[in-house]
Symmetry: C2
Subunit: 182 residues, 2 copies
DNA sequence: GTATTATCGGGACAAGTGTCCCGGTTACTC
DNA sequence: GAGTAACCGGGACACTTGTCCCGATAATAC
């Protein structure tokens, strides 16, 4: 970490830009311009450009702050004794995080540089839940990611219902059919 | 319809632009420029601009050609004697249509001018399926639309699994709880 | 307090977008 | 087949976006 080498005002500005960007991306999507972010953060466009040479760098940095919490939660859940409960709990967290930062929802579950850590954990939780028979065995991570992304697009209402539907659908199983694959 | 007033070449060009736009929007999303669409259609940008004064007009026109089939199917299903089956069948069609035209998926279920007709039918099918107890009563159309949109983002694999998960989750019900609302 | 140097601000630039317009061409009418 | 008007092509324009640069400024070391 070379953060200590930054000057005090530079650290402040960097943090402020990151904060504003997170808020703006969450509420208005990734299409907001860098100029607008700089304006709202009260800095010049050059300042943003220096800390985050590319818009993609800015997006990645915002994603990193988001994924940190999710990664920590996933690791905690992975140590749980209830693989099914752990998976479904993380599913809810993913949806909530995605819905709270709508512009970044797709990137959250994707294989981007920042979200990779989340994906790895989500995959592991899924596999573990499937091994104990808590989640139907025919779904793969891409299926779950797509469905989660969809849930995050639910606007103007509570997320509980969509998450509930999703969990019920993933559960193993509506009607026991334990041995239709072996 | 004033289409008969168009000159022959104008009709041809209009159809060609529409065709190319549908294909391009489907495979590369709405962010493709009008210039690019004109180039691929082998016409000038002015030609596109005249038939569809605004890019939004072009998108709407493409959506209209898509929704026509869906509307017809929905009307046919609405006359069926199995509300549950009708709803789930239409759900599958919606997902397939959305996945085949990824750039327009969100607009398909939305309240845009062109997709309104689809939404009205989907709402009706949902309500009817809920009335006979085939679909859990706590979901609303916005929930379904969000989940369908998610399914359409599933890339590189078969859609059957996600649709299956979605249907199982929506079905009424994993464990009967008929009277928790009344 | 002064010198130094990292950092700032915002104007500038290139690339890309949607939209419009005009001279030329082609299809339809008689 | 000639006249007319609708239509075409693509260049032009205004605008936005991401990125870079440079003179001005303010923080840090001594």
């Amino acid at each position: 970490m070379a953060e200590r080498l930054l000057r005090a005002d530079a650290r402040r500005n960097r943090a402020r830009v990151l904060e504003v960007a997170a808020h703006v991306f969450a509420t208005e999507g990734l299409s907001v311009s860098v100029h607008e972010i700089a304006r709202r953060a009260g800095v010049g466009t050059g300042t943003v450009s220096r800390h985050f040479p590319t818009k993609d760098d800015l997006v990645t940095a915002v994603l990193l702050t988001l994924t940190a919490d999710l990664v920590a939660e996933a690791d905690a859940l992975a140590a749980t004794e209830d693989p099914g409960g752990a998976f479904f709990a993380f599913l809810g967290s993913l949806v909530r995080a995605g819905a709270a930062h709508r512009g970044l929802a797709r990137e959250l579950t994707g294989a981007g540089a920042a979200a990779g850590a989340v994906e790895v954990r989500a995959r592991a939780l899924l596999v573990r839940a499937q091994e104990v028979g808590a989640v139907r065995p025919d779904v793969c991570y891409a299926d779950v990611a797509a469905l989660v992304t969809g849930c995050t697009t639910r606007e103007g209402g509570p997320l509980e219902t969509v998450v509930g539907v999703l969990c019920d659908g993933l559960r193993h199983t509506t009607r026991p059919r334990e041995d239709n694959s072996a």
